[in-house]
């Protein structure tokens, strides 16, 4: 987060006007070229044939199915990682035990794995020719090329979001308040609901927000496990790909524009949280 300090106003540290102007122009030019133009182009391309074509592309049955599937996958994956994030941060932040650093490293592991590999590992495990493939087939269970595979791949790529926001936050808050509640006779659950949760709620929301944005927008991992069955296993990003490859550009950018708006809403809420509750978020301290 941006916290302005008076640094630039010490005369000794002030850069000349030329240097300042040149650097600001370079920075803004770079961001305009790489951030603003791509974002604007999504909406311009989506509305190229007018609003009627735009709405028609979004109301088309396959697009509606993709939107629904994206919502379903996120509605399962995000709460799973929310529950995990709270449990993991409780045992890591509130207790001292051997192997804690290893555990934290392992929780961060999915962030350093390519999305394609995140999908690949589940295909190797549950695919038709995978380790458990023959067994699953005999039981009539389908994971790959079906919704469970999409959920698993999404859970993997969004795995650390909630935990890595909550762990430093709860570590910083310490145990005193919880200990006081317990001494005063509260049960473990009461302590969690009445003391811990109110303290971490903004951090939790922050983690869930980022987790959800990634869950709805994930492409590489779900692309590997989806099988691209139209109307059945296509999430919105995958639907964008199919439309784009069919040269149906207006429809592709229309669906993409919905995802871009999700990204913008995420950024706005994230920024508001940082401005408003910066002191209560771990992510804003370094």
């Amino acid at each position: 987060m941006l916290v302005k300090k008076a640094v630039g106003f010490t005369p000794a540290l002030a850069d000349s006007r030329w240097v300042k102007g040149l650097l600001i122009a370079t920075a803004l030019g770079f961001l305009l070229l790489f951030l603003v133009l791509p974002l604007v182009s999504v909406f311009v391309e989506a509305l190229r044939r007018g609003t009627d074509a735009y709405w028609a592309a979004l109301m088309e049955p396959d697009a509606v199915a993709a939107i629904k599937l994206t919502l379903i996958v996120a509605a399962i994956a995000v709460p799973m990682n929310l529950l995990f994030g709270v449990a993991a941060s409780w045992c890591i932040a509130k207790f001292d035990f051997r192997g804690k650093d290893v555990l934290i490293t392992l929780i961060d592991l999915p962030f350093s794995v390519s999305p394609v590999i995140s999908g690949l590992i589940y295909v190797l495990l549950f695919g038709l020719h995978g380790l458990m493939g023959p067994f699953l087939k005999s039981q009539g269970i389908q994971i790959i090329f079906a919704v469970p595979g999409l959920v698993l791949a999404t859970v993997f790529v969004t795995f650390p979001f909630v935990a890595r926001e909550l762990i430093p936050l709860m570590q910083e808050q310490g145990n005193e308040e919880e200990e006081a509640a317990l001494v005063l006779g509260a049960s473990g659950w009461q302590t969690f609901w009445r003391v811990t949760l109110p303290n971490i709620k903004w951090g939790l929301l922050y983690g869930v927000l980022l987790c959800n944005a990634r869950a709805m927008g994930e492409f590489g991992a779900v692309s590997v496990v989806s099988g691209h069955i139209r109307g059945e296993t296509n999430t919105m990003p995958l639907h964008v790909e199919i439309l784009y490859n069919e040269y149906n550009l207006v429809a592709a950018f229309a669906v993409a524009s919905v995802l871009a708006m999700l990204a913008l809403v995420t950024l706005v809420v994230k920024t508001v949280l940082e401005w408003r509750f910066g002191a209560e978020l771990a992510a804003t301290r370094h």
């Binding site: 000794a12 449990a87 795995f159 492409f219």
Partner: protein, 295 residues
């Protein structure tokens, strides 16, 4: 040890005596439950599937693994992925540093909006970024047509397009690692340098930059690692010509589509190994710089 046993006796749900060997005593409950859940979930979602990857690649045997990996097509994709990720991370190191500098040191109208916008590549789905960039840089796109007209340069569907996509994807990393360090940099050292007669540039080069270099390297390494694994934003703009503009993650997808599971696993393991070695090397370099700067 005695304290641990008594506290466990008082609070029977706090994890039992087996776990009390592992941890220091605490009156808070729920250690056994939350650690048990964490370990189970972590194993099922992350560790077991990754083990399946290692197992599948190991099934090829030592020579089988290298046979699957040392083919001209894989090696070419390796060069494309790692080379262009390095190039994109280098571009981001330069411009990300300038963006961080401008955001911390200068005020201008809209600076907070610009600051928030830097995170866009984290929030925008990669497929959306991919089609937007390829539309922009296509020969008939806004930027692509200008580059074509002015320089006769083709960007989309060439390796240059991959570098553009990877620059977009890695953009926030350098900014977000350098920014907090620059913000917390005590102004005294710079003032002292100025007071002792250093020019602005000398003070920057000798005082400010060395203090920021470890953070810059971290951002560079993160952007690089992200670039090597990136798929969604690249495949639309790359053109995906085998040997020229085909990236490693795409090769994994192609091998999977051909039901060559072992081959896909081998390329996956190669990617993870190479990223790991490079990040380890960068970490060592960084630790060495920190210790040198601290002296």
């Amino acid at each position: 040890m005695v304290a641990a046993t008594t506290s466990d006796a008082v609070l029977p749900n706090s994890g039992g005596t087996v776990l009390s060997v592992l941890r220091k005593p605490s009156v808070l409950p729920g250690f056994g439950l939350t650690l048990g859940f964490t370990l189970t979930y972590l194993s099922l979602i992350v560790l077991l599937p990754l083990a399946a990857l290692a197992l599948k690649a190991a099934g090829l045997g030592w020579s089988g693994f290298w046979d699957a990996v040392l083919t001209p097509r894989v090696l070419a994709a390796f060069k494309v992925s790692f080379g262009l990720s390095l190039a994109a991370a280098a571009i981001n190191a330069v411009f990300g540093f300038i963006v961080a500098w401008v955001l911390v040191r200068y005020r201008f109208p809209g600076d907070r909006i610009v600051d928030a916008l830097v995170d866009l590549p984290f929030a925008l789905p990669t497929a959306v970024a991919g089609i937007a960039l390829s539309a922009l840089y296509a020969p008939n796109g806004w930027i692509g047509s200008l580059l074509m007209e002015w320089f006769g340069l083709r960007v989309a569907f060439t390796p240059l397009g991959i570098a553009i996509a990877l620059t977009f994807i890695g953009l926030p990393f350098v900014v977000r690692t350098v920014q907090p360090i620059l913000q917390d940099l005590p102004p005294e050292e710079e003032e002292a340098a100025a007071a002792l007669g250093a020019t602005r540039w000398q003070a920057f080069r000798r005082v400010v930059f060395p203090a920021l270099l470890p953070a810059l390297l971290t951002g560079f390494a993160l952007a690089f690692a992200r670039g090597v694994g990136e798929y969604g934003s690249v495949i639309f703009i790359a053109g995906n010509i085998p040997g020229l503009s085909e990236i490693l993650p795409l090769l994994i997808v192609i091998k999977l589509e051909q039901y060559d599971y072992a081959g896909a696993a081998a390329v996956g393991v190669l990617m993870l190994m190479a990223s790991f070695i490079l990040l380890l090397a960068l970490n060592l370099l960084q630790a060495w710089m920190r210790s040198r700067h601290a002296r």
